[in-house]
Symmetry: C2
Subunit: 299 residues, 2 copies
Amino acid sequence: MAGFLACDWGTTNLRAWRLDDDGAVLDHRDFALGVAKLAPGEAERRFHADVRPQMEAEGLPAILCGMVGSTLGWKVAPYVECPIGLEGLRSGLLEVEDGVLIVPGLKGPGLNGAPEVLRGEETQVFGWMAGKDDRQRGRRVVCHPGTHAKWVVLEDGRVVRFLTAMTGELYDVLRRHSVLRSDAAVDDGNAFLEGVAAAGDGDALATSLFTTRTRVVAGSLPAKASNSYLSGLLIGAEVASVPPLLDLPPETTVALIGEPVLCQWYTAALATRGFTSTFHDGDQAVIAGLTALHRGALS
Amino acid sequence: MAGFLACDWGTTNLRAWRLDDDGAVLDHRDFALGVAKLAPGEAERRFHADVRPQMEAEGLPAILCGMVGSTLGWKVAPYVECPIGLEGLRSGLLEVEDGVLIVPGLKGPGLNGAPEVLRGEETQVFGWMAGKDDRQRGRRVVCHPGTHAKWVVLEDGRVVRFLTAMTGELYDVLRRHSVLRSDAAVDDGNAFLEGVAAAGDGDALATSLFTTRTRVVAGSLPAKASNSYLSGLLIGAEVASVPPLLDLPPETTVALIGEPVLCQWYTAALATRGFTSTFHDGDQAVIAGLTALHRGALS
């Protein structure tokens, strides 16, 4: 039996692929086994009892990335330090049992002396670069929108630094639990761009957030557009404030990796600041990253 | 029977005082009748059934401020427009029944064309000025820390503008519902000031918030100090970002009106930006404001 088992095992979900050694997908399945729901020891047990047999991957090598390598997961794969390239990441692979590897997360300098950490996005970043010589040359910027958006700066194929913005989580707690709560869909492009504009340079977020409510009360924003506006405010504040922290010049192209609809909103917000962006599917990036790591681990 | 019944009737609570016509307190009681908990029509009913008899204020004139004048309350007392002085506010008093007045909220220009509104703080602001000639001269700045902090700019005794910062609500939803959740008390002055410093100029809040987690993970912030740090971050971002929006020069003295402990944290954060501050009790301010409005309504 050829190929290997590749898993993106995160907080809320486990996405598994059986791949051939070139990374072609032979089978794919999602499992409701996010590490946030697992008891201690359960990750290993469920991997053997559920994932391997259902993926018809008994006896195949396996490589796992994401929160499975955290204190909540199977076993801690200690962070590796930036700057780091693919070989450095590979040397941090943790073999939890014969033929089962966990990808380590990355650690780097954050704001004001605080550290920054990520786990899972490193595999997407190296997958995005794999086999693409131009992406491994010069300065490149990757952004992963999501609960904790990650902005990653690459130089000549190495991750040199990254920053996190809690944009998705702020959106979620505000729309669920605050005076701004609403079940409205994010589907109004005009309201989204009004929110981006209202974010200004990203300062005074606690003040601009309140305009979500006052605009609805004043009748200048329809209640059904309030989450579009709120999303625009938060993403607008992020795209205004993070690039200066990373010294990104306006001509920077930002490679967005993630969920297509969310990436489209980022594209629209980035455009208002003069940034161009490209879109790259998150699943393809993780498959390519796990394949590149597997290939090197074989050799 | 002399005097009047004065109520600060907000979202979560009703604070009632029986006062003589000079504002001296004859009786005080709190009622768990915040308008957020009341059914339509219930405010009026409970006022007659519970508040008046328990306060021994049958037949006395009454004056009520706060959310009781909103759509959630007894009846809507329409916002009056800034700039506005005490006489203007008084002319907006809504008589909901013979001898029962509701104080209107204020409306003014906010950020980026959005309006700003407040309801309840206007009474404290005019109470803070009542009988103090110096506070009615020149430019003065009042800050009301809280769920929705209000910064109010006065010129020669009139409210000319104000802004809201959702600082308290952000703190609350983050400490309850986010990855930063914690039951820790806000009691560590050093961690608070580290948070204030980490807030920088108040930009990139979604990024600096994440340092609450990474500092704990890295061991540089004790878990039991994480809410002190988080509070410092949010209040720090507010005191860094709101004063420039209101064109406040560094030599401005900020009059803090509200809960004593919270005001002390604001004093510490304001000091790091070079602002001096003074503290004024919220209850005394609302009593003085309702007394000033009652006195004029009598004459």
